[in-house]
């Protein structure tokens, strides 16, 4: 069943919509949750919450790309769950992703600046648009999908070292960009 047909099931309030969604995108959303939570049960609960959110959001939303719409919901839910469950203990794999991002927001003045969330989102899109495609893809695989460096290196047929170097370069570019635009 294609996306349009699935979305029509949502609009018709036919509960097969959830079943078809899970069949098409269950594995994709599960991998996003698992990359962040590293816990099967939590990831499965995240998935259930994703289907519920999708049911409540469609209609009136009619996503142009259902897979990405669901992926973003899952990512958000997984991150919220991660923060709730790991306030004291650290999930080293996902923490490494956050720690890397911390480099980008380290301010030379060591003062936290407030920022406009909308402007930041627009700024990030401009930054990503200016990147070469391969660097952009690798960056998003690491910091949107929270994939491991090893997995990413494997997909691009490069060594993990090389992938680390590319990520470091892009993080440095992002830090410079955020400083330049006044976000940090």
């Amino acid at each position: 069943m294609d996306d349009m047909q699935i979305i029509e099931l949502y609009f018709a309030r036919n509960q097969d919509a959830v079943k078809e969604t899970e069949k098409e995108y269950g594995a994709y959303c599960f991998s996003i949750a698992e990359n962040i939570l590293h816990n099967q049960q939590d990831s499965e609960e995240c998935l259930s919450d994703t289907w519920l959110r999708a049911w409540n959001a469609i209609p009136p939303n009619r996503p142009a790309r259902l897979k990405l719409f669901l992926g973003k919901i899952t990512r958000n839910l997984a991150f919220d769950r991660y923060r709730q469950k790991n306030a004291e203990k650290r999930n080293s794999s996902f923490e490494a992703v956050l720690d890397e991002l911390a480099e980008c927001v380290a301010s030379p003045e060591d003062v936290e600046k407030s920022f406009d969330a909308k402007a930041l989102r627009e700024g990030l899109n401009s930054f990503l648009k200016a990147l070469p495609q391969r660097e952009r893809q690798i960056f998003l695989k690491r910091y949107f999908y929270a994939q491991s460096v090893k997995e990413i290196a494997r997909e691009y047929q490069m060594t993990a070292n090389h992938c680390t170097v590319i990520l470091k370069r892009v993080r440095k570019k992002l830090q410079n960009y955020l400083e330049q635009e006044g976000f940090i």
């Binding site: 269950g26 594995a27 142009a64 790309r65 897979k67 990405l68 992926g71 973003k72 990512r75 958000n76 991150f79 923060r83 992703v97 956050l98 720690d99 890397e100 991002l101 911390a102 480099e103 980008c104 927001v105 301010s107 936290e112 600046k113 920022f115 969330a117 930041l120 989102r121 990030l124 899109n125 990503l128 648009k129 495609q133 952009r136 893809q137 998003l140 695989k141 910091y143 949107f144 999908y145 494997r154 997909e155 691009y156 047929q157 490069m158 060594t159 070292n161 090389h162 680390t164 170097v165 590319i166 470091k168 370069r169 440095k172 955020l178 976000f183 940090i184």
Partner: protein, 347 residues
Amino acid sequence: MKKEELFQALHEVDEAFLDENVTEIKHSTGWVTAVFSIAACAALTAGLIYFVPKPARNTESLPAEEIKVMHSETTVTTVAETVTAVSADWNDNTSVNEEYQLYDNSPEIITETTVTSIPVLKTTTVMENTHKNSESETSALVVETSGNLAPTHLPYVTTENETQPSPSVLPNIQDNEPRQIETHYFETKPEMTVKTTTTVTTTELPKETEPVTETPEIPEYIQNIMYESDADGGTVFAREEGEHIEIAVENGYYAESKFANALTYYPGKKYWVSMQVFYRDSDKEGASIDQILTLNYGIDVRYCRINDGRFLALITEDDLETLRQIENMGFLIDLAPAADIEDNEFY
């Protein structure tokens, strides 16, 4: 801003960027630089289809509760194997076929140069294997792939009226050691036929190499660049003399696998590269010690920057071994064609 806030802000990235990722994951194929033989590929796939007496893995198209218990005596055998397509053509190595722009110390562009590309032979082989479960019980067809090749595996199950494609991408193996790449389980009912399709793509360098003659001529302005170190030998920096700096790239090549996306090395040839080296363990602090390594290991450095340690070097195939040793000591090395330098990295 906190790191968590940045992570959350990435939530709203343009979906077109995420779409690039989806497409890339689905359709990427493997590339190796070794010469590939069809016989080796046939042996690789044919010998690795067998039955494993354990519960089948839950794949996207097979809900776990529907998988039956397997019996160790039950087997799914290969009944046919066919090489269905082989194609080979010369393609340019696009990793070096780029125009680039050069800068002096001002941000304005001063010149452009096109790097000549080197053709490589790309060979694609597609094989189909048909397997049949001639037993009276449902079995699991286990498809495993191993070896030093990088197939794109597209197995699918066919029944009388239904086809369920299950594409997957397998990782490349850089070394020559055979090992299992990935395992797929497919439920095969009695008398069910399963067809697997394996596509392997390899690249091969031209057999004839150009004769080794001499070092590419060093442009005069690069000859004028001075480099020096401080008393401890820990810092090297360069000054330019003359009106501007121009980077020359001679005969770019396709990469050796250890330094992918860099340049290929013909014996005895020399060429300019842009290089950055830093400690693996301290890359978070941005440490850069390439200057020490270049001085100690004798790589011919002609220009250095102290900001992030990126420099130009004139290297040969022998220097690759040196660079591997440096990596084994705990450093990260990033090689690129000498044109790959951003304007703000200039000293």
